[in-house]
């Protein structure tokens, strides 16, 4: 009789669903975007889409705006997130604080954003750039705090003691050991905030009453208008920006490990 190899014993089998998933939901959309970028509305091969995007002033402004909003949000998140993460890792009472920061994450982000909008309207705050950035920071702050918290709380206490022993007061201990040792957390925090913010949509529309358009919003609009070609080009441009920022982050963090900060 032929020996049958039991199906469940081959480990490779467990990988198949993932491969299938990747093919359908990751590779295929990318290919579709790439193909769409070179097709006009009638389905003929063209480079017209590129021309449209790169000559249309408004779409470039939107891109610039997105990058700016992403940058501002990231900086604010870092400025708020680092002290919070530091306090959290230092004091055990920080658990309540971490809960307060994580709690909003349990609410759907659309509902959260709508609620924020309602609060602003009730308070009579004019919706605009300020409120958009507030919404962004509010939504993405936990993504900054978590990696920072992980890294800072894993710093060996003996480094801090060694620095104190060598004559560093509290501020020097922070500047010369804790900060440089938490660079990897800073970088992953930045990555986790900056990349989603440049591509996000809905938040900006909702919190500015549709007056501020970010890149994500305009991609959505292009697809809604049936301009698949231009939409695809914009998606690719965004993808390239994400890749560039990722590449820069990696390069920076690699350098950090080899070189000194001061």
């Amino acid at each position: 009789m032929k020996k049958i190899k039991p199906f469940f014993l081959s480990k490779k089998v467990f990988g198949y669903p993932y491969v299938l998933f990747m093919l359908i939901f990751v590779i295929m959309p990318l290919v579709l975007i790439l193909v769409n970028a070179f097709l006009d509305t009638d389905g003929y091969l063209t480079l017209e889409n590129f021309k449209t995007f790169f000559t249309e002033k408004s779409s470039l402004v939107v891109l610039g705006n997105s990058l700016l909003v992403g940058l501002i949000t990231t900086v604010i998140c870092l400025l708020i997130g680092y002290p919070v993460a530091y306090i959290l890792s230092k004091y055990s009472s920080g658990k309540i604080l971490v809960l307060l920061f994580i709690l909003p994450m349990w609410v759907n982000f659309l509902i959260r954003t709508l609620a924020t909008k309602a609060v602003f309207v009730a308070m009579g705050v004019e919706l605009g750039m300020g409120t958009v950035i507030f919404g962004m920071v509010y939504n993405y702050l936990p993504f900054m705090i978590l990696p920072l918290h992980t890294v800072i709380s894993s710093i060996d206490k003996s480094y801090i003691e060694a620095a104190e022993d060598l004559g560093a007061d509290k501020s020097n201990v922070f500047l010369k050991t804790i900060l440089p040792l938490s660079v990897s957390g800073i970088i992953s925090g930045i990555t986790m905030v900056f990349i989603p913010t440049i591509s996000t949509y809905a938040i900006s529309q909702l919190l500015s009453n549709g007056t501020i358009f970010l890149f994500g919003d305009s991609i959505q609009m292009k697809f809604e208008q049936g301009l698949y070609g231009v939409g695809s080009i914009m998606s690719i441009v965004m993808l390239i920006f994400v890749l560039i920022s990722n590449f820069l982050m990696n390069k920076f963090s690699n350098n950090m490990q080899r070189r000194t900060i001061w």
Binding site: E161, L166, T260
Partner: protein
């Protein structure tokens, strides 16, 4: 080394208030550290002189590292004061103390290379410039930082001292354990501290490297002339390197003395057992200069004991001299039980009047042979026993039932319930069970010492009473065991009503 660095013999705590100006660079006065209700260091006092190499020695958990960390400033004593050059530094933060530490796991900064690790302290230091007189006629001393050239010169000098001249640019993670160790030492020394603290610095190195580093550290100490405070659990390391050894156990200082004194005149059975191999035997002091053990009467150099006082005798294995059994020098005859070659000597186990003794000699002996043993009276070290009977104050649970450390024991006493009583149990009447569940009460073995033909171990019960137990078995330190006591062996005595405040004393006895 300077002449005045020679340590004084056994130190006692000076209680005088006027000792502020002295050679002591560091003084601990009644320092005590409590963690979560547990005393890591119990009221300890210690004086360290300028230029001394002092070692804190003891098994893990004895409080030696905590003591060092209090000197460094990482821990604040719960009570007591610490003085540095006569100045109270108890509440001074570590960065203002003129001490530097070599950490157990080196704690080299991973984000800095070797050069910058060493330069870390220098970059933070401020140096006084030439005082000058300003326009208003005041003398002003300005401070400046070290220049780059000065830092480079100092770092290079210290790198040369630890034999790592070309390693400045290297990443610390790429260094071997021994090299990291040297960087850690260089990083501490470059700041020219008055006291260098070393927390088990050689613990992570292999034997060969450790030996080399021991010699190097000792040389560095000699060259620099600064005070070294060294923490280790390795008694050999302590004895070879130090000017003064502080033996600690359970948060208490057992003995402060030179290595020779620690070895030759241990203060108690614990020190004797911890510092190298030794024979510890129970004996009786018959009168001044006369002691009996191994069923034999010996001459000794000790006096001042009560007549017939039970004592412990300590004899180092190499202090025995093997003679012919019929020689008139043979104070004791013994039968050879085993003989093991140990590299530079033979370790001979002999049985003398039912007592097992270890004898070190350069000549081998045949198993079964009868030999004579001679010991110089000077080499018999006699110590008072910490305790001769287990004694504790408690009360009756009911007639014929007494409470001992939370367990109810049957006894031959018909005193009524609630009567305060004194319970006495002989060391060899305490039965130890392997399984904590099998005993009426349970405790942890904290010590076990071989005493010739039995083991004396100390078992700490859950309510912190130390039971002294004589058994035939060697119980493992740290094991949890059960304790039973036979009904007939419990001696119950009625106590008068003055118990309350004496209870404390009883507990402190050990």
């Amino acid at each position: 080394m300077k002449e005045n660095t020679q340590p004084k013999p056994v130190e006692t705590t000076p209680d005088k208030k006027d000792v502020v100006k002295s050679d002591n660079i560091i003084e601990l006065k009644n320092v005590c550290k409590v963690y979560d209700g547990k005393e890591a260091v119990k009221k300890s006092s210690l004086n360290i002189q300028k230029g001394e190499f002092v070692t804190l020695l003891g098994p893990s958990g004895c409080g030696k590292t905590t003591t060092l960390r209090m000197i460094a400033g990482f821990e604040t004593p719960t009570s007591g004061r610490i003085y540095f050059n006569g100045e109270d530094i108890t509440d001074t933060p570590p960065y203002l103390r003129k001490v530097n530490t070599v950490f157990q796991k080196y704690a080299l900064f991973p984000h800095l290379n070797v050069f910058n690790n060493i330069a870390f302290g220098l970059k933070l230091q401020k140096v006084a410039m030439e005082p000058f007189v300003d326009k208003k006629g005041r003398t002003v001393t300005k401070f400046r930082k070290y220049t780059k050239e000065e830092i480079k010169r100092k770092v290079d000098a210290v790198l040369k001292m630890v034999d790592l001249e070309d390693y400045g640019h290297r990443n610390v993670a790429s260094l071997s354990g021994g090299q990291q160790q040297r960087v850690a030492i260089a990083r501490a020394l470059v700041n020219e501290p008055e006291v260098l603290l070393l927390d088990e610095p050689l613990g992570a190195l292999d034997l060969k490297m450790r030996k080399d580093m021991q010699i190097e550290l000792k040389n560095m100490h000699r060259r620099l002339g600064i005070t070294f405070i060294y923490v280790t659990h390795d008694q050999e390391e302590a004895l070879t390197m130090s000017d003064k050894v502080v033996v600690m156990r359970n948060g208490e200082i057992q003995q402060i003395a030179t290595p020779e004194q620690i070895y030759d005149e241990p203060a108690n059975a614990f020190v004797a057992d911890f510092i190298g191999e030794s024979n510890i035997l129970s004996g009786v002091m018959l009168e001044d200069y006369k002691v009996e053990f191994c069923d034999t009467v010996f001459e000794c150099v000790d006096k001042g004991f009560k007549k017939k006082e039970p004592i412990d005798v300590i004899i180092r294995p190499e202090d025995f001299k093997i003679v012919k059994p019929d020689s008139k020098d043979a104070l004791l005859t013994a039968v050879v039980d085993s003989c093991v070659f140990k590299g530079d000597h033979y370790q001979i186990t002999v049985i003398a009047n039912d007592n097992e003794l270890i004898v070190n000699d350069t000549l081998a002996q045949k198993k079964g042979d009868t030999i004579g043993l001679y010991i110089k009276p000077f080499d018999l070290h006699i110590m008072r026993k910490a305790r001769i009977i287990n004694e504790l104050k408690t009360e009756m649970v009911s007639e014929g039932l007494v409470n001992i450390c939370g367990g109810q024991f049957e006894c031959n006493s018909d005193l009524p319930q609630g009567t305060k009583v004194l319970v006495k149990v002989d060391f060899d009447d305490v039965e130890v069970t392997d399984d904590a569940e099998d005993g009426k009460i349970a405790g942890v073995v904290i010590n076990s010492i071989y005493k010739g033909n039995y083991y004396q171990c100390i078992i700490k019960t859950d309510d912190q009473y130390d039971f002294f137990v004589d058994t035939d078995d060697d119980w493992l330190k740290g094991d949890r065991v059960g304790i039973n006591i036979a009904k007939d062996k419990i001696i119950v005595e009625k106590l008068e009503e003055e118990v309350s405040d004496e209870k404390e004393e009883k507990n402190e006895e050990n």
